[in-house]
Symmetry: C2
Subunit: 92 residues, 2 copies
């Protein structure tokens, strides 16, 4: 039986990698008066529906998908949560 899973994927820069966009946001926030914000890091959040016969297969597919397309493993880490869904609605 085919099951549908909602995958919530987080792609984040590795801690050792500089994040110029995060620095720009922090600097913009300081100009707006928010001096209480620091260490801004900007990553990606991806949701998708994946169909598979078993959760373990969906996880294997997702790891390959993240390595090949969603993340750059040289500078980024990723992690994901899988939630089985009945219908195709519910994304975002």
């Amino acid at each position: 039986m085919q099951r549908k899973y909602l995958a919530k994927i987080f792609v984040t820069l590795r801690p050792s990698v500089l994040d110029p966009a995060g620095v720009a946001v922090q600097s913009g926030l300081q100009q707006l008066g928010y001096n209480n914000v620091e260490q801004v890091r900007i990553g990606k959040y991806i949701e998708l529906i994946i169909t598979s016969t078993e959760e373990i297969k969906a996880r294997q597919d997702l790891e390959r998908i993240c390595d090949q397309m969603l993340a750059n493993p040289v500078i980024e880490n990723y992690r994901f949560d899988l939630i089985e869904v009945e219908t195709q609605t519910g994304v975002f």
Copy 2:
């Protein structure tokens, strides 16, 4: 007393807004042979440290920050989790 909070912020396109980047990723995945993936939606995931005397004030600041800088409220939704942290480490 000043408290530090780690904010995990999710910025996602409103469901009614087209996501060309998500469509491109889905099409790329199909070319790689992943025909079991659909409804790809790409959003932003932001982490930052915010300092405040109370959690309620940190939340109010974050809502303003999301409205003014991190999200475009016309086309995007946002939500965030706040976690009190002892030290400044632990971002990402």
